[in-house]
Symmetry: C2
Subunit: 185 residues, 2 copies
Amino acid sequence: MEEDRRLFWKVLSSEYIHKDTWLTARKESVQMPSGHIIEPYYVLDYPNWVNTIAITKEGKFVFVKQYRHGLRSVNFELCAGMAEKTDPSPMVSAKRELLEETGYGNGTWSQYMVQSANPSTHSNLNYCFLAVGVEKIQEQELEDSEDISVHLLSAQEVKQLLDENKIMQSLMAAPLWKYFYENKL
Amino acid sequence: MEEDRRLFWKVLSSEYIHKDTWLTARKESVQMPSGHIIEPYYVLDYPNWVNTIAITKEGKFVFVKQYRHGLRSVNFELCAGMAEKTDPSPMVSAKRELLEETGYGNGTWSQYMVQSANPSTHSNLNYCFLAVGVEKIQEQELEDSEDISVHLLSAQEVKQLLDENKIMQSLMAAPLWKYFYENKL
């Protein structure tokens, strides 16, 4: 909206203070419409992310479990990953991640939600997909840096994880709560 | 779980590459249980965050709107902020943020959800609160860096924002979808 554009900040200066595969940070000097200058303001540039609510033909939810070093914890998660720059679309990235991390594929895919982990600090988005009727079509193809187990959960088991606050990653909890809302599960 | 502890990584070395009010980043060398070493691995240390689903005595949801420079967009949001180290609890932080950013207070408060924006990269948590029966008790007290408008929305209007994917921040969308699920709205 036009009204919203008036709230935008002006970038007075911008420089990369770190640029690496896993962390790219910009340090900026920005000016608010009021004239107030904020400096430094940091923005993190990650590639877009993807994750998928994948449900098998038998109605089981395909979850993964792995250690996450930021939070130093192991939690049930949706299969997730990065959209490579060479991927023609986020859905292609999500299908590849599901296949490599879990061995599941096929099914009917649709985009379900677009989210930001933090619009203050992150310039990227997370694309969530819904894949219904997936089936196991190959073995996992993990990288050396991945130690991922696959778990087929019933709707009731997923609901229990949500109720017990065990889906810690909000980019996964948001679409799952939406799914349970919309499907009256 | 004991089984989960076996998945934890060992930190071989750790150093701060950036330490500032708004960005603290650690660069680590970590070893997986398989022996595989990942280096560098970056962890972002932010203070804990808080946000609040605040509902007035008249049943309106207290939302805010502000420009977010990471995503370069203006979106409807729950009132949110940082838990200061000196705050005795996250609930105290959330009450202060709601009062300062919106002028609303009182009501009955409970912790509603604990989430991570990204367990891979973030060591902090976001605490979401539910505050029912809040009322306007003072004017906004904004800092120079804040340009925040307050909006009282009906449940139907919030549901429409959710349906139209206009609550972009997943730390806010997750508890809102949960709330609408649990209250059959």
